[in-house]
């Protein structure tokens, strides 16, 4: 096993209230690269990414089994505090969700919660710069974050996530609520960020996955004929260039060619 990996997943199963959502996922997320998770709706992409920072714990009835190793340590081991886990892993959501506070307070929220003692101004500026937002907001840090445009809000959420200095950023369809120009800026930002962070992105936009990612994981649904239960499985996980030029599995081929959705 390559210890360089940020995440190492083995036999991951997710159930919600007894109904299976994801079965038998094995994959590894390497550092400083972008991994995309694609698949038709309802195949468990969001469930998978939420396992990486134990956000699934917040859903009542969610049961996660299997191993998720973060730099070699199982984050689902007994006695592990999910709050501590989440401090090391950043997350950005589909719809920009800045707090109804000032821009400064949004970025400073994470560090303050974690008892940061150093120069907060410097940390806020650094995070906003890395999120390619500093130039646009440096003169209005005290203004409400809600006054920003959708694309700016999303970059603010990215700044907020990286302010706690994680080494991996999870993104659940980060650009799907944004217009095309804002989307391109987020994608460009991801290329910059991957120099320092591992990025895992869930996207239903295949072209985005093709453009942006280094590796792609394709999830697909399996159905139990008798019970009509549906759950997601990992069908193929490979370099993005291979997935989009010569995928191994016909299901992958059909999906990326748009033969079903």
């Amino acid at each position: 096993m390559n210890d360089d990996n940020v995440f190492s997943v083995k036999g991951l199963d997710v159930h919600y209230g007894g109904a299976p959502a994801l079965k038998g996922v094995d994959m590894e997320i390497g550092p400083r690269q972008i991994t995309a998770i694609i698949g038709p709706s309802g195949c468990g992409k969001s469930s998978l990414i939420r396992c990486f920072n134990r956000m699934n714990d917040l859903i009542p009835g969610a049961v996660v089994s299997g191993e998720v190793l973060y730099h070699g340590s199982d984050i689902y081991a007994a006695g592990v505090d999910p709050v501590v886990v989440r401090r090391h892993i950043g997350m950005v959501f589909q719809r920009p969700n800045p707090f109804p506070k000032s821009i400064y307070d949004n970025v400073a929220f994470g560090p303050r919660i974690n008892g940061f003692k150093g120069d907060l101004d410097e940390l806020v500026e650094r995070s906003l710069r890395r999120a390619a937002l500093w130039d646009e907001v440096q003169n209005k840090l005290k203004k409400s974050a809600l006054a920003l445009s959708g694309g700016q809000q999303q970059r603010l959420c990215i700044a907020r996530a990286i302010a706690v200095e994680p080494d991996v950023i999870l993104m659940d369809e980060p650009a799907s609520a944004l217009d095309p120009i804002a989307t391109v800026r987020i994608e460009d930002l991801m290329q910059e960020l991957k120099k320092e962070f591992a990025i895992v992105i869930v996207t239903h936009n295949m072209q985005q996955a093709a453009r942006v990612s280094d590796k792609t994981a394709f999830l697909y649904t399996e159905v139990d004929e008798e019970t009509s239960a549906r759950w997601g499985i990992l069908v193929e996980y490979d370099d993005t260039s291979r997935i989009f030029t010569k995928p191994t599995d016909t299901r992958t081929e059909d999906y990326v060619s748009g033969r079903f959705g």
Binding site: R86, F93, N97, P98, F99, I113
Partner: protein, 305 residues
């Protein structure tokens, strides 16, 4: 598309060879049903507004005659027959008791709401709390007065404190339920964002959920205050009423505006009655100010989000 481009509809009731896509004018019958319905609704609204309007008008007219600087700053005269004087003691009593009641009920109510919205959610205890809170909103306020009388006044006598406790029992359910609603309205995405940053539950609640719900909670509190300021029945049995300006909390009966209005209205002397009307106007203004303030805060918070 200019007016010249709009095809002219055929006359209603007339058949013509070519009928434009935009159709004829609506049939006669439909227009009249529409107008009848509108008229009916307007009439209903007017009927509702009339008594309200009359109340406001009457109070204003009668009260304005007696309102003066002297009125607002002088306590009640010992002889009810006397003219002049004011309701300062009652106004102070209202402020004191309502203020205390707010201090008691707001923290308790908001924390209970936090429990219901964030921690208890669907469990049995939360269900029980909600049920009893709903029941309490419907309890006649005189029952509250009776209860406090038996429980406390019989032991420690009439006074501001027991009056405030009675008022806080009235305010509590309102604050709990409205605060719970406001807390529930905070989008779960904000909580997700907070958790994802590594915040524990209490940190999320205190630093994200409560601040976001604050405008809504404030509205609920102000409305509860307005309600408490006008309560009479519970105060009859706990504060009792007085002529003096009272500052002690226990053992000394104290006046409040609703009490003063009641006793003044019962008064055979014109002077007493005049003061009652003025008191009614003063109370009305206080209630209106709080209610309007609540609405302004509510609408401003909606705009900013």
């Amino acid at each position: 598309m200019s007016a010249a481009d709009v095809p002219v509809p055929a006359e209603a009731g007339r058949t013509s060879g070519e009928v434009s896509v935009l159709g004829r004018r609506p049939a006669r019958r439909r227009v009249w049903t529409d107008r009848l319905a509108t008229a009916g609704l307007v009439a209903a609204v007017i009927m509702v507004l009339v008594p309200l309007g009359l109340i406001l008008f009457t109070i204003a007219r009668r009260g304005l005659a007696t309102i003066s600087w002297e009125f607002l700053t002088q306590p009640m005269p010992y002889s009810l027959r006397k003219e002049g004087g004011g309701l300062l003691n009652s106004a102070l009593g209202t402020f004191l008791m309502v203020g205390l009641a707010t201090v008691f009920s707001v923290p308790l109510g908001v924390l209970a709401a936090v429990y219901l919205a964030e921690y208890g959610k669907k469990n049995t205890l939360a269900g029980v709390i909600r049920f009893f809170t709903d029941v309490m909103t419907g309890v006649p306020s005189v029952f509250v007065g009776l209860f406090i009388y038996t429980a406390l006044v019989a032991q420690i006598g009439f006074g501001a404190l027991v009056g405030a406790i009675a008022l806080s029992i009235i305010m509590l359910p309102i604050i709990v339920r409205s605060s719970e609603e406001m807390l529930r309205l905070v989008p779960s995405e904000l909580k997700d964002a907070s958790y994802a940053l590594g915040a524990a539950k209490w940190q999320t609640v205190s630093k994200v959920v409560l601040p976001s719900a604050l405008p809504g909670i404030t509205t609920g509190v102000l409305l509860a205050v307005a309600r408490a300021a006008g309560e009479t029945a519970p105060l009859i049995l706990t504060a009792l009423g007085s002529f003096k300006i009272v500052t002690t909390l226990v053992g000394e009966p104290i006046s409040a505006l609703p009490l003063a209005i009641l006793s003044g209205a019962r008064n055979p002397f014109a002077a007493g009655q005049a003061r009652a009307w003025a008191g009614a106007l003063e109370l009305l203004v206080i209630v209106l100010v709080f209610t309007i303030l609540a609405r302004v805060i509510a609408s401003r918070s909606r705009i900013s989000s």
